[in-house]
Amino acid sequence: MNTDAILSFEEAMEKYDPVLGFEVHVELNTRTKMFSSAPNVFGDEPNTNVNEVDLGMPGVLPVVNKTAVESSIKIGLALNCKIAESCRFARKNYFYPDTPKNFQTSQYDEPIAYDGYLDVELSDGTVFRVEIERAHMEEDAGKLTHMGGATGRIHGADFSLVDYNRAGVPLVEIVTKPIEGAGSRAPELAKAYVAAIREIVKNLGVSDARMERGNVRCDANVSLRPHGRERFGIRSETKNVNSLRAVEHAVRYEIQRHAAVLEAGEPVIQETRHWHEDSRTTTSGRAKSDADDYRYFPEPDLVPVVPSREWVEELRATLPEPPAARRKRLQADWGYSDLEFRDVVNAGVMDEIEETIAAGASASVARKWWMGEIVGRAKAADVDPGQLGVQPATIVELARMVEDGKINNKMASQVLDGVLAGEGTPAEIVEKRGLAVVSDDGPLLEAIDAALAAQPGVADKIRGGKVQAVGAIVGGVMKATRGQADAGRVRELILEKLGVTV
């Protein structure tokens, strides 16, 4: 039960200045583990993706996974870090059943990447630079399930069951420098930072980056200091905050909790906090132990990792365009407004629009089809727009038919339904359904005469120069032809007939 007092966020912000820090663990998607050739696969039967190295049997020797090192260097480069000329692993000693060796093999004093930064964009476009202290290689631990007791939580558990499939999975831990100056945007920045890290590792292809599977996990450090004071306050570290929303909420909550502690004239305790998604609060974990208690020492079973500059440059050359730079480039290329582009990004169709434009559609046509037609259908079907299987070539074909006046927009939408229903290509569906814009002027002129006769007042207005009134006549013609007429051509013919030049 959580009974911590909190201050309102606004009041906390009035009195205090938050300082943040993040440790984000990224699970790499290598085929095998960091130090053993056992498979790195999520969701398999317990204790089947293990061998003697993962179980810490006596006398076994770890061997470093080359791909994991490459992935780590790529992450370092994407975070604008320096890559160490030489680095090594250490043993972090502790007793806990998730680690069968009784130590975790981790980089400590010599990380593979250090001194970087990441520019994080907030929702209104403000860019906030987060300094990266280091990114280091380590291994994941096994998974404990606490059994018995009433709540399934560790307190009150009778025993625990351990699955070592995750033990030894390669991790890169990304550590920021203290983040100052975020002010009241600290919770938003926290979320944006973790989202940016997730996007980068996904874009690099080095992690599946699925937070719900624990591929990206965040420990959030928060401290407060009175405005104007340079020295940091005492921090808390909220562990394993595992969704973007939770990161934002946890930082906000800890700011409010710290503020209440400080307002009461008490010291903040330096400790680990556990995040509870149900109540959106944290509870005290354990007091933070000194780093010395882990008795780190260099891992004697592994030799140093010395990435040659040639290797680093080779890897740099393989890096994809950074996500933020790509977004900026695409928006400029397509000429979308900020709002239009943000909608496209939020709808998750940026890649699809890019492919559609590459297939020959204009930027506005691609946007019209994806945002106007396909996103809505995807929502109705409760799938991602990309999952509907609409091919860029289909959109290009539909757009061309509309442009050529063969069909109008309304028909094109029907044709798209036919394509999604598997009835064939747009051309086949147009043929089969007998869809075609009436372009022979003869029948159109008859319909126009009828429409003008039906609304003589409107015809007079148009003759008198109120050209916008033509819509009413066009509407009548479209109705008479059951939508099969080319509205543009109808308008031309009406104006011609009434002797109005525009």
Binding site: S37, Y96, R295
Partner: protein, 98 residues
């Protein structure tokens, strides 16, 4: 003489999960100091031209290709476990989370 007192030894014993009697703590405090001093004498042999190293073998970049090798079955993995349940290792509930 290295300064290792009885409290240091008690702290280390606790971290290493080793139970030690009062006499053992006293004795070890003295012995550990001698051991540390002995190891320290190595640094007298190394001049300024000898860089610090964590590894005596001049090897670097010993890597393995990312290719799946052998694994145990769950039965094999658990064959040495004192207790198991549902193909998992069964351990006492431990409150001191690492």
């Amino acid at each position: 003489m290295a300064a290792i007192n009885r409290d240091d030894v008690a702290h280390l014993a606790r971290l290493a999960h080793i139970e030690m009697s009062a006499q053992e703590l006293d004795r070890m405090a003295g012995e550990l100091a001698v051991i540390v001093d002995s190891v320290k004498s190595v640094s007298q042999a190394a001049g300024d031209d000898v860089p610090a190293t964590s590894h005596p073998i001049p090897l670097r970049n010993v890597f393995r290709d990312d290719v799946v090798g052998h694994t145990f079955t769950a039965e094999q993995a658990l064959s040495g476990a004192p207790d198991s349940e549902d193909n998992r290792f069964k351990v006492p509930a431990i409150l001191d989370e690492a």
